[in-house]
Amino acid sequence: MIRRLGALGLAIAVLTVVVVVSIAVGSVTVPFAQVLEALGGARTSEAHFIVSGMRVPRTVSGLVAGSCLGVAGVLLQGATRNPIASPALLGITAGGGFAVVVGVAFLGLPAGAAVWVAFVGGAAAAALALGLASTGREGLSPVRLVLSGAIVSSLLGAWTAGLLAIDQRTADDVRHWLAGSLAGRDVAAVGPLLPVVVAGLLGAWLLAGQLDALALGDETAVGLGQHPARTRLVAAGIAVLLSAVAVALAGPIAFVGLAVPHLARALVGAAHRPVLLLSMLLGPAMLLGADVVGRVVARPSEVQAGVLTALLGAPLLVRLAVRVKSPA
């Protein structure tokens, strides 16, 4: 218990620091006193426009998207009992991105519908990847899951690139969906998504006990009065929804959903409730951390947060793939 509280306190402290840095640091240097002033009032200063108009919105977007990705990763890893499951590796982000390109750019759906479009695309991609991985005798091994997720992701990526190549104008309109970046986010886009996020996080919380049972094996779970298939479906559905929110807010961001649950488990063990809570805090810490680094490494320009999360996350994937034995 003390360990869990300690980890929770640590996560809160880390996230707080990251949020403060995310508001204080950018590609333009604004003295901290001016940052505070800008947050307080002074409606006309340049510092105010930078801090309140740019850094606060991207910080808010990063908080929401990061939480969604962290929790979605926990749900997917729990539902598939597979340590390598995550929104990006299952093709959910690629599916969401592709669907947004088709729906918003080609079919002319309003930008506000992006999250639902991304949800449908992400669910279809996840179903495809899981279906592909489940074929054959060995069943859902981590390596098969990674392979089929990679296949689905690259297939969708190729389709997206193909569509964009057809129509340059459309390509320009949707490119920022596909960038995996928190830059230039409209804070107004977050509001309508909040009910979805809250519902998703609550649902995840309520599922935690059932996921714990699932972790003991399907037979034990049935013996405990659970319905493994139903739990899996609901968990995957919530995970896809949360991933879709993240895609709608920040575009495809890789590795946050993979890395954060592992970090959380390393800190507090395998029980799902504390892992969920911690992932909800560490997800945004990682995403915003990557965003802040991206703002300062390439001054006067920026590196997209998605590029940096991939840079940080790829070694972790390699480590997991090496360590985790296939059950076959």
Partner: protein, 285 residues
């Protein structure tokens, strides 16, 4: 690069870059082969003859088979873009490369003129440009607008650029115009031609006048920027609205075709046309 022997005067010319196509046309030669423009359609400022040429791939990936099929007398390209193709190209025809493109466009015109055995014509077109630029500079001086600090920017889907030197920077300088402090460079020869910026750096775009290089579709649109998602987003920020050029209503769309994409002597003259129209009209109104 390249000391190839060129038959004088070559009739069948293949150009591998936008600037080579532009300047070859200016020298009175219509290439038999050209690479695609960066846009869907040919640049409006180029003479119609360009459409008679066969398209042989893109500036980054010229189609060697298509070039060979044209049986050219000479091939014009640049070391910057085409160094890796030199061996194969020179087996097809004598190949002449400029070192680079953009800022070196005037020297390059002389190089192309030499390659096409039209040295005199080459000197003529550059001199005509210099004279026009000098006259414009004098006129700007007379009307008291020569101290205008001109900013040049371009919004692209994945990056936003401030132009410092390069082709457009040189033409502005020839016309005697000034640049805002944030866009001045120490050493013209070694400076990066442009800088990519993040949203927080919008204030560095400011100047007495801001020229925004836009696509010809966007240029044809009388008002607003709604054809370009990035531009719409950036220009709706408070930082943009606070720029002195924005407040003074001195933001002016210009066609990227001759401000940025063309890079030859015809494009340079077209830029002078725009500058003259903008500043002399502003000055008299």
């Amino acid at each position: 690069m390249g000391t190839s022997q060129v038959a004088c005067a070559p009739e069948r010319v293949v150009t591998l870059g936008q600037g080579q196509t532009d300047s070859t046309l200016a020298l009175g030669v219509t290439p038999v082969g050209v690479v695609e423009p960066w846009t869907d359609d040919w640049y409006a400022y180029l003479p119609d003859e360009v459409e008679q040429a066969t398209v042989v791939g893109t500036e980054l990936e010229p189609d060697l088979e298509a070039i060979a099929a044209l049986e050219p007398d000479v091939i014009l390209g640049s070391k910057l873009r085409h160094e890796g193709f030199y061996e194969q190209l020179s087996q097809i025809a004598p190949t002449v490369f400029s070192e680079t493109i953009g800022v070196a466009w005037k020297e390059n015109v002389s190089l192309w003129a030499q390659a096409l055995c039209r040295e005199e014509k080459g000197e003529q077109v550059v001199a005509a440009y210099e004279q026009r630029a000098g006259e414009l500079a004098a006129a700007l001086e007379d009307t008291g607008v020569a101290d205008t600090e001109v900013s040049m920017i371009r919004f692209q889907p994945d990056q936003v650029r401030i132009y410092l030197t390069g082709f457009p920077g040189l033409v502005l300088r020839d016309a005697g115009l000034q640049r805002p402090a944030a866009q001045q460079v120490e050493d013209w020869a070694t400076s990066a031609m442009l800088t990519e910026i993040s949203e927080e750096r919008i204030p560095e775009m400011d100047g007495d006048v801001i020229f925004v290089m836009v696509s010809s579709d966007s240029y044809a649109q009388a008002e607003g920027y709604d054809l370009d998602e990035t531009m719409t987003r950036w220009t709706s920020t408070e930082l943009w609205k606070g720029l002195s050029a924005v407040q003074a209503d001195a933001v002016h769309k210009v066609n990227e075709e001759h401000w940025n994409l063309g890079g030859g002597v015809l494009a340079a003259n077209a830029m002078l046309d725009d500058l003259e129209a903008y500043f002399m009209d502003t000055a008299t109104s």
